[in-house]
Amino acid sequence: MRVRRRATAWSTVLAGVLATVVVVSAGIGPVRIPPVEVAKIVLNAAVVPAGVEVASTGAGPLALPGIDLTYRSPFAFPVDDVHERIVVLVRLPRILLAALVGFALAAAGTVMQGFFRNPMADPSIIGVSSGAAVGAVAFIVFPAALSATLTLPVFGGVDVGLSYGTGVSLFAFVGALIAAFGVYAIATRHGRTPVATLLLAGVAVQTFLGAVISYLQLQAGESLRRIVAWLMGHLSGAAWSEVAVTAVVVPPLFFLLLVYARDLNVLLLGEEEAHGLGINVERTKRVLLAASALITAAGVAFAGIIGFVGLIVPHILRLVVGPDHRVLLPTAAFSGGAFLVAADTVARAGATELPVGIVTAAVGAPFFIYLLMNREVHEL
């Protein structure tokens, strides 16, 4: 009970920090907008279901009554129309995507560091990021050819009308999952997945995929610039549709991880001891791996490779709140969201916009070195 109170208190505080950072960030840019006005705009944009309409959709024997929800906003503060459009259409989707991606990467990083009992673990350790990069880079280099694969008869021959951005994200997501599953399959023998083997398989697969990415870059020609931008991580041009997809995928996976937080604590004792305490070790590892891979894939699919969030944020929070994952996981996730929003704000606030990956690495690496020199990181 004590633990739940701590977890709730810390999470509430950090969720508040995240909300504040979001509002402040939305005011920063070429057009300055005061935070109070941003808050009003955000509240105006918030909608709640206002009613339910039952309508018949389609015709014929299979016609079923569809349920349509109507929405309304409970607030209608008077705000500057231009400001409202800047915030709602330009800044907010980008900021919320940053928040969700940072949230996802920090959560996955926390789980991976615990899972591998290794302070150097991060979400990319099981090949998720490399796989995503191969998928995305391949699509950037051969957009037409890869779009065409989706219209093949094996996929039902449906022309999904894949846009360029969606194609990159889709192939990144699929590439991430294929790589993660490949690493898992390589490391699994007779139903057991030793963590040490998984770590080495991850390194091997990352190295191989790195070679593939380098080769694709050589073949890239004019699209090389876009590849480099993707690989460095980017949140520019984020759309509400991307926010929506991430918002649907990330929270359920996060709650699944949270449900397994106590098991993850016990797993830190070592697999034999965890087994002796009644944990179904292999199943727990599969759940943790799958959920971490999916949540990471959802993050990197839209934002590219953003390093250090999943490495640094869990570290800092472990120093602050301790190693209990029931507290650490939610606090790290909210902090990761806040950190990435802040980093992206820095990235876009200057005269020339930087890829956010550069900012996170530039801030994160020195901080990590500071931790190494001042704290006993080897003891986590």
């Binding site: 009970m1 633990v3 739940r4 615990g114 009992r117 007779h190 449900v259 106590r262 604590n265 016990v266 830190l268 004792l269 070592g270 034999e272 001891e273 087994h275 002796g276 305490l277 009644g278 944990i279 179904n280 070790v281 472990r318 301790g322 190693p323 209990d324 003891e379 986590l380």
Partner: protein
């Protein structure tokens, strides 16, 4: 993979078909009763909290545990002893299900381990490992709380029952004092007691302990064993791998002597821990005396000497002579001793070694009969070993005429080997083995 299948297939019929016991070296009663079918075997083990039958475990091609049969009943503390690599830890891991048996079965409280989920098994048996891999700085209390995991549903928090169990466990293991310290900031011995507390918090009827006292100081080692003993006396069952044979002899109801993955002997410590069994299992020479403080067997072992067994008579008294008797007995020599005062440590040691001892009441002088008996033994021996006493500078605690008696006995001997009181074991054995020495 197909090899594994073949092994399983080969092992099962032999278990069902009554071939059990063929390659079991011990005459333990539990073993003899087991060439029945599975149901009968299950019934045999129903009373035991822990039972293994024909248990074999291999790592790759190396079979580390072969056909081990044992039971641990309620109210029973069983010690597993044996040399390094005898398979003690592996048997314990097979009982907790952390290694899979290649053949044979394990029952926990009447049910096959293989049919129990990890959670069900962890409510029946708790284990205290030698070390924990935990390197994150959890607080000690939190580590003990993890012992409640088997009793918690996925969405449950700790309730008052859990808190009480954790408090009791910490008090019993004596770790309350540092409950709020980080597990990374406690000593090795304290860490081991935290693991014990965690196992106690599990509140299981059976406990499995792997070297529970290995890194404990002498006080905490004894406290820990007393605690386990108390728990067992309250109706739990415990099985522990124990390196310290004296500790096993003192606290265990039964000991199982293992060597090379097989059971060499099993039974109460007084009957099982004899020089021959210990010597064979550990490939060493052992002298089994008695601890005067606890009146339990006290085992002293020596490196293997490879000397031919001889019939030796020993002359001398006191601790120096007791040491010589122990070393010579361990090396397999057939001994006699005398004349010594009753109750002399050398006489006690010689009696423990099964030697013929000629004693006289203390301070009563040596009568003619005793003198003659000692002379006869010396005469019949291949050699007579004179310890210290014959040395005029030695400070002998024996009565005044002892030197004369010793001279008289030595006079009867065919061959005399004189050794200093502080003789080194190796020199002693070399002197005994060398026919030219005097």
């Amino acid at each position: 993979m197909s090899d594994d299948d073949a092994t399983d297939a080969a092992a099962d019929p032999s278990t069902e078909g009554g071939g059990v016991g063929a390659d079991v070296d011990t005459a333990d009663a539990d073993v003899d009763a087991t060439n029945a079918d599975t149901d009968a075997a299950g019934a045999n083990t129903a009373d035991s909290l822990i039972a293994t039958r024909e248990l074999s475990v291999s790592f790759g091609d190396l079979e580390v545990v072969s056909g081990v049969e044992m039971t641990v009943d309620r109210g029973e503390f069983v010690g597993l002893v044996g040399p390094n690599g005898a398979g003690k830890t592996t048997i314990l891991r097979a009982i907790t299900g952390t290694v899979d048996a290649d053949a044979g079965r394990v029952w926990l409280d009447g049910d096959r381990l293989s049919g129990l989920s990890a959670r069900e098994a962890s409510r029946r048996v708790a284990s205290v490992p030698q070390e924990t891999g935990l390197s994150f700085d959890f607080r000690v209390r939190h580590v003990v709380e993890m012992g409640r995991t088997p009793h918690l549903g996925r969405f449950d928090g700790h309730d008052a029952t859990d808190a009480a169990a954790v408090d009791d466990a910490m008090a019993a293991a004596g770790v309350e004092r540092f409950a709020d310290r980080s597990i990374t900031a406690v000593s090795g011995g304290e860490r081991q007691r935290v693991l014990l507390a965690r196992a106690l918090a599990q509140e299981t009827p059976a406990l499995v302990l792997d070297e529970p006292t290995a890194s404990l100081d002498v006080n905490h080692a004894v406290t820990t064993m007393e605690l386990v003993r108390d728990l067992v006396d309250d109706g739990r069952a415990a099985i522990a791998a124990i390196h310290d044979l004296d500790m096993a002899a003192r606290y265990c109801d039964r000991v199982v002597v293992l060597a090379g993955g097989r059971v060499r002997a099993a039974g109460p410590p007084e009957t099982v821990l004899d020089a021959a069994a210990v010597g064979e299992a550990f490939d060493a020479e052992a002298f089994v005396g008695r601890n005067p403080a606890t009146n339990s067997p006290a085992i002293t072992s020596f490196p293997r000497s490879e000397t031919a067994s001889r019939r030796l008579h020993v002359v001398g008294t006191g601790p120096d002579t007791a040491s010589v008797v122990a070393r010579l007995a361990a090396a397999g020599h057939e001994l006699s001793l005398g004349v010594v005062p009753e109750g002399d440590v050398a006489a006690v040691a010689a009696a423990d070694a099964g030697a013929t001892v000629v004693t006289v009441p203390a301070f009563a002088g040596v009568d003619a009969a005793a003198r003659a008996a000692a002379r006869d033994l010396a005469a019949a021996a291949d050699a007579t070993v004179v310890v210290g006493g014959a040395d005029p500078t030695a400070d002998s605690p024996t009565p005044d005429d002892s030197a004369a008696v010793a001279a008289d006995v030595v006079d009867a001997a065919a061959r005399v080997i004189r050794v200093p009181g502080d003789t080194d074991g190796e020199d002693l054995l070399a002197a005994v083995a060398d026919p030219s020495s005097t």
